[in-house]
Point group: C2
Chain length 205, copies 2
Amino acid sequence: MEFSSKLVERAVSEIALLPGIGKRSALRLVLHLLRQPKDQAKHLSSAIAEVREHIKYCKSCYNISDVELCDICQNPLRDHNLVCVVEDIRDVMAIESTSQFKGVYHVLGGKISPMDGIGPHDLKIPELIERVKNHEISELIFALSASMEGDTTNFYIYNQLKKFPIKMTSIARGIGVNDEIEYADQITLGRSILHRIPLEQSLKM
Amino acid sequence: MEFSSKLVERAVSEIALLPGIGKRSALRLVLHLLRQPKDQAKHLSSAIAEVREHIKYCKSCYNISDVELCDICQNPLRDHNLVCVVEDIRDVMAIESTSQFKGVYHVLGGKISPMDGIGPHDLKIPELIERVKNHEISELIFALSASMEGDTTNFYIYNQLKKFPIKMTSIARGIGVNDEIEYADQITLGRSILHRIPLEQSLKM
């Protein structure tokens, strides 16, 4: 692509570094911004600079937070012995929106992925092990995605922690509550049969 | 969506104002930036602020340019009597990449669209009329998209300019050079039959 303006070219290259945005979409976004009032670009620009510059992580669960200890970790009504291990803030938001979980979280910040050069020490796994060592935790619930990287991460943490007297569980995998069985994928349907539960238990839902 | 950080919330809202980016994608982009070195967010932020703040338009063709008169308008080898009317910089880039056009451009900055509140005076149409009045222009080639808005814009400009002794043409619509006739849409195929050209002319290509 040849640009008639270095300013546009630079903005397009920077925006196209974002995942899922190619040069054509980036140009479309730049042209959109040029048609909007100057304030919109100013606000966008400062929001991006500030979120990266001033972002803080909760020193207990490593979720993104504006204060040292996040609202969930500060809440005395939550069960601090029950820790849900998740990949990132989006999983925390999704689980919180169910209102079904009363424990606290541990945000790893990703999954182990040798292909992308991400090892255990690039994630908050050493911090999780320290947390289990130094705090009274009764159960870790693993809620990582069921991908190869998710399973690898679960397995690595399991091996590091199996010597400790804690319960380690995984969230249930199965057919979604409103899903049709005939349309479910084979692996999910297979797992849902393998991990069947007593009928009385399912009727309590 | 409830966020654990106001900084993240603000960045997500600002990014989600861009067309085609929802709150979920915006959050994904913010989390990506947080995982990258601080410099990437800084460069992105400053590129966005600067392109909006310092953008200039060529005073002759209204294409985006870093200087008063763009490279194309400055070029003495181009035919300044032949003006191609386009919607925005993307069309200029696309036509330039064909190397088939030796004239100059007039960039309208959009199409007439009453639905979006865009009238002739929101575009560089008055400037086009002035340009035809004050300069020696032999032909205007209309290269707007073949949509209702494109046709409306063509028709409006045509009515404004028909009293002047200039030729007004439209780019050819038809079956793409490598396209199969059986897969062409009906309107395009219909137009390509209606606007057929002498065989000798097509063999010259």
